[in-house]
Amino acid sequence: MPHGRSTVKNRVENTMKTVLMISALSSVAIVFLIGFFTLKESIPAFRGIGPLNMLTEKVWRPGQDSYGILAMIAGSGLVTLGSVLIGVPLALGCAVFLAEVAPKWMAEIVRPSVELLAGIPSVVYGLFGMVVLVPLVRGIEVPGNTGFGLLSASVVLAVMILPTIASVAESALRSVPRSYYNGSLALGATRWETIWRVNIPAARSGILSAVVLGLGRALGETIAMIMVIGNSVIMPKALTGNPLSIFLSRARTLTGNIAVEISYATGVHESALFATGVVLFLLIMIVNTSARGLLKASIEGGRRK
């Protein structure tokens, strides 16, 4: 019965199509549901306090009805900046080594180890930071430095975003056609010149998306940050004349603000925490959108050349 068999086939085909579509649509629906719910819960805070007040006020004292999140925006921004400054060069070095330099046997040992970093639970990073890194950072003799603060948090975060950036950047570098490399060497360029001037520029859109993925992870990281950053609601400021000492200052991140306080929050306080979530949501959306724009620009720029 060829006819009957093809009907069965079609039915399976159609069912699979529907199942796949439902799974795709459900993830879209979940994003919208979470976004809608967060926004809805934050409305009382935005109404009562005013969005502009929240964004520009530095003092967060729910007991005194002060709900400013500027200090937390600064904290999240600075710790992300710090982790990118430390983590990106490290991750790119790692990616270039794995893609271009390492002998095969060595890459086969290094790559899984780097990937293993991504599998360590965030609370373990936090614990490591709290008992190992914080005491080390405390060794920097600056008045007011307790070890808890942006530097410890940035280092922990740098290690956490390293595997993401390294593996995406490595595959970007690997996808550069071998002929570019060979051609450059044939023209008399050294191996290093080829990597620096040919392979990395050719892979830049992939490298950029790697960095942005890392950035997104950094902005969203919570538990490990709570454990090492000190969670004080203060605008981070330099402890000495050296502006770099700002990284020894304690801070609180947007994610940390929610996680630290949600368990007991009620009323406006709770709503203000949801509002913090909305701001975080927007921040990550801005990062992702601008990254996509950058990526597009860099691809088009590459084509024009």
Binding site: T146, F148, S232, I234, S263, Y264
Partner: protein, 259 residues
């Protein structure tokens, strides 16, 4: 037919069972759960349902009648008593709050004024309270924690805990932070005192259950149950059970009993 009869029987049994609902402080919650289990074991037909929410939620829920009993790990505020004048407070246990520091701290005791000064930031070096010259780092619980609320109410009064404080979201994290960071000071419930940190005498009185009972240790919070009006029926039975010798023996496992 048989099925319908069985489900009818189940329904009848369920409606016969009395449920006592309790909500509020997450500090009191585990204690109330243990007490509830012990109570259920000796009083068949009564189920005790305990949920959290925090002290303020506990007081409000009891006042509005959404639960039979509210839990609060602090004094009931004057404003709450004014709002709900028929509320009855049953103190079931006491918990001391210890002022603790890094184990190498050379100071052994503080006055209440000194504790307040340290936590509001006006005393910033250990040498100002008789210790070695070293900056003081305050470690505190997050806004909304019952331990913090009780500490603020008993010690701080109108003063605020300094912005510079390191905030940790649990008692365990506070203890680890203090243990690993020289110069730190913080506050913890008596249950969390161990050899990894140093607990100060306050106002000349060391933080022990004996000193809580004789009234000499000043930083003590009550654990309260609240009801609207005098309790009756199963609710009264449960509260009587908590205050009985058997109930207070359970309380004594983690807190200081009141009887």
């Amino acid at each position: 037919m048989k099925k319908a009869f069985v489900s009818l029987l189940v329904l009848a049994a369920l409606s016969l069972a009395t449920e006592v609902t309790i909500a509020g402080s997450t500090t009191v919650q585990p204690l109330a759960e243990t007490l509830g289990e012990a109570f259920e074991a000796s009083h068949s037909g009564v189920t005790i349902t305990v949920s959290g929410g925090g002290s303020s939620v506990g007081v409000k829920s009891a006042a509005e009648g959404t639960v039979n009993i509210g839990m609060a790990s602090r004094e009931i505020k004057a404003s709450e008593i004014a709002e709900y004048p028929t509320m009855v407070v049953h103190t079931i246990a006491r918990d001391g709050i210890a002022i603790v520091a890094h184990p190498e701290c050379t100071v052994t005791g503080l006055s209440m004024d000194q504790v307040r000064g340290i936590f509001d930031g006006s005393i910033s070096n250990w040498s100002q309270v008789g210790g070695a010259s070293m900056p003081i780092t305050v470690v505190a619980r997050e806004e909304g924690s019952g331990t913090r609320a009780a500490f603020e109410e008993i010690v701080m009064g109108e003063a605020l805990i300094t912005d510079m404080a390191i905030l940790q979201p649990s008692n365990g994290a506070v203890r680890t932070t203090i243990n690993t960071t020289p110069g730190t000071v913080g506050f913890l419930g008596f249950g969390y005192i161990d050899s990894s940190i140093k607990a100060f005498a306050v106002g000349g009185s060391t933080p022990t259950a004996t000193h809580v009972n004789d009234g000499s240790y000043p930083v003590v919070r009550p654990l309260n149950l609240v009801t609207m009006g005098q309790p009756s029926g199963a609710v009264a039975q449960f509260i009587d059970f908590v205050l009985s010798a058997e109930g207070q023996a359970i309380v004594a496992e983690d807190y200081i009993p009141v009887r």
